[in-house]
């Protein structure tokens, strides 16, 4: 067990290193470097000054030495500097990641919980109306572009029925009490979370229905029923846990995808998360920020994967590794 944890963490560190190396080469492939960006901000381009600056930043050294230096820098938490925002990339990321993570995690939790419940309920009557509803829902969940769904939801619930705010994460002026402020943020997050959650909920409900149908046909459920346990107990105590496993596994694997979805949703709802930051930086060709976002997103996924992996091992000792 202990060895497995150490191994998993070691693999995680290797992965993060690989992401940094990838970043380094992408940064090199990108047109222009830090010095160009600085000179552009300063409004002048004197080749002699540029050469001097490059030398002072070590940009004239061999690629492998630059790579080692870059690795050292990133591991010390320095992801470079954005001349447009006039802020270090690490600070920018730390300012924007929490919103995205909040959105991703709450959507994922909602999708897993309600998806599983929908699936279980549908599995009880496989030919019933609700089961058909799950089939249709999952088809639409697969086929709907999340950014478009966000816009339609905005049209309906913010414009035609003005129940929720359309943009941002806080009202202006902010409510005075702390509780009011939290409620205000939740109020702003309802539509984006719902938008993101519903698509995954749709596919999870179908998966959990399939696994629930499998589980309900298995021997141990027959045994439980034969023992005379009540149906509620059979379903919630015996079947549910095993039926939910595939959904939880999938949700863990899909984390990176949900993160991508969150970025689109943020762009639509103008939430101050990583999405708009990335969008702006791409428009401005602010490469340190762009690659910083890639690094931040990837390392978040790596860490989250390690955590889910460990939770699995704890929950189900039979599992050696989910990968």
């Amino acid at each position: 067990m202990k060895q497995a944890i150490i191994q998993r963490i070691f693999l995680g560190i290797v992965m993060i290193t690989a992401v940094i190396i990838l970043n380094f080469f992408l940064l090199h492939a990108a047109p222009g470097d830090v010095v160009d960006a600085m000179l552009a901000e300063g409004g002048g381009g004197d080749p002699e000054l540029a050469a001097r600056l490059r030398a002072s930043y070590g940009l004239d050294e061999a690629t492998h030495i630059q790579l080692i230096k870059y690795l050292g820098q990133v591991f010390r938490g320095n992801l470079g500097y954005s001349f447009y925002y006039d802020q270090s990339v690490t600070e920018l990321l730390l300012g924007h990641l929490p919103t995205t993570l909040m959105l991703t995690i709450s959507a994922l939790v909602l999708a897993v919980v309600f998806g599983t419940l929908f699936g279980v309920y549908a599995a009880l009557k496989p030919k019933g109306i609700f089961s058909n509803f799950v089939t249709v829902l999952s088809l639409f969940g697969y086929a709907t572009p999340v950014f478009w769904l966000g816009m339609i939801i905005l049209l309906v619930f913010a414009l035609y029925l003005p129940l929720f705010p359309a943009f941002g994460i806080r009202s202006l002026p902010e409510p005075e009490h702390a509780v009011g402020r939290i409620l205000d943020i939740i109020h702003h997050l309802v539509l984006p979370t719902f938008t993101l959650a519903i698509l995954y909920l749709a596919s999870y409900s179908r998966i959990s229905r399939a696994s629930m149908l499998d589980v309900l046909g298995s021997d141990y459920i027959r045994t439980a029923r034969a023992k005379g346990l009540s149906e509620t107990k059979v379903i919630f105590k015996h079947a549910l846990k095993n039926a939910a496993m595939p959904v939880v596994t999938l949700a863990g694997l899909q984390l990176a995808q949900v993160f991508s979805g969150a970025i689109l949703v943020e762009t639509v709802f103008s939430l101050p998360g990583v999405g708009p930051l990335l969008y702006e930086s791409i428009v401005r060709r602010d490469f340190p920020v762009i690659l910083g976002v890639l690094f931040g997103a990837a390392s978040t996924t790596i860490i989250a994967n390690i955590i889910t992996d460990l939770i699995y091992k704890y929950m189900d000792p039979r599992i050696q590794s989910i990968t």
């Binding site: 992965m15 992401v19 492939a29 697969y142 990176a256 490469f287």
Partner: protein, 300 residues
């Protein structure tokens, strides 16, 4: 369930019949698929969409970038689906957007599947160290959020259509690789694979001629569904403006109307419905294939 190349015990003794009547199961699958009304509806609509993609711009030769009406005009007789903020006809845009959407989705899917199947097949077939290394690489690509990675690739290199296609493929192949690997691990234990090895077949032949055809049913379902996912993926990239500026796509139409859709719902609704319908029909085909390949699991 469908193992077209597997001679079962009573067929072994009548090998001539096997060669004269190939792949009976595939025919069953075909019949099952044709009996599925939803799947046929999906197929019909997708064919229609392909026809629109091929002939639409010929039938309606208007330039989708041309300003033909007042900006943000309601759907009416002049412009069927209204006009966008520059007075461009939304309907003409949708018709002309079908072709690039189709080309990008199909090409990107082919590249994705090619990478995914190659890596998955090698990993699953050889196992051991090769498998280990390839799976770590696959995992590495899975921790990079696909959209973010694709955005970075397009931003760093260019928004040329080839780069967009490659970006989509590079960020999505792991799913296919994992699926192929799992199938290969399962199938390579079969006796006909051992038999093929025993008569001295080369690995390349075993992979492509013996195992791959037997892995096709789940892969075909996955590939069909991948086309739909790619349509949405490409729409997301063009929604964010990361696409060829000279090409009109449905995602781009939605993205460009982002600042105006509160005043003009039609500018985003119609292109979105177009995406939704096409992908929905692809999903129906995928479901139909799934039911046809696994009749026992129907309706899950």
């Amino acid at each position: 369930m469908t193992q077209p190349n597997t001679p079962n015990s009573d067929q072994i003794f009548s090998s001539e019949e096997i060669t004269s009547e190939p792949d009976v199961k595939w025919r069953d699958t075909f019949h099952l698929f044709c009996a599925n009304r939803a799947a046929l509806l999906g197929l019909t609509f997708v064919c229609l969409f392909i026809l629109v993609g091929i002939f639409g711009p010929i039938v309606i030769p208007a330039d989708p970038f041309e300003m033909v009406a007042m900006p943000l005009m309601n759907p009416n007789g002049q412009t069927l689906f209204g006009s966008d903020y520059l007075g461009r006809d939304v309907f003409v845009g949708i018709i002309h957007g079908a072709r690039p959407t189709m080309i990008i989705a199909v090409t990107a899917t082919l590249v994705t599947v090619l990478i995914g199947i190659t890596i998955g097949a090698i990993a699953g077939f050889y196992g051991g160290m090769v498998d280990n290394v390839l799976m770590r690489i696959t995992e590495f690509f899975q921790v990079l959020p696909p959209l973010v990675f694709a955005m970075v690739i397009v931003a760093v290199f260019s928004s040329h259509i080839v780069v967009v296609i490659l970006a989509i493929a590079i960020t999505t192949w792991p799913t296919e690789a994992r699926l192929t690997r799992a199938e290969f691990l399962k199938i390579k234990e079969n006796e006909y694979v051992t038999a093929s090895r025993a008569i001295g077949d080369r690995n390349f032949r075993i992979i492509t001629k013996i195992i791959l055809p037997n892995a096709m049913p789940p892969l075909m379902i996955a590939i069909t569904l991948r086309v739909g996912i790619t349509v949405i993926y490409e729409a997301a990239l063009s929604f964010l403006g990361l696409t060829d500026p000279d090409v009109i796509t449905w995602g781009k139409m939605i993205g460009q109307s982002r600042d105006f859709f509160f005043e003009a719902w039609w500018t985003v609704t119609f292109p979105g419905v177009a995406i939704l319908l096409v992908v929905l029909c692809i999903a129906l085909i995928g479901d139909g294939l799934n039911d046809a390949f696994n009749p026992k699991l129907r309706g899950r």
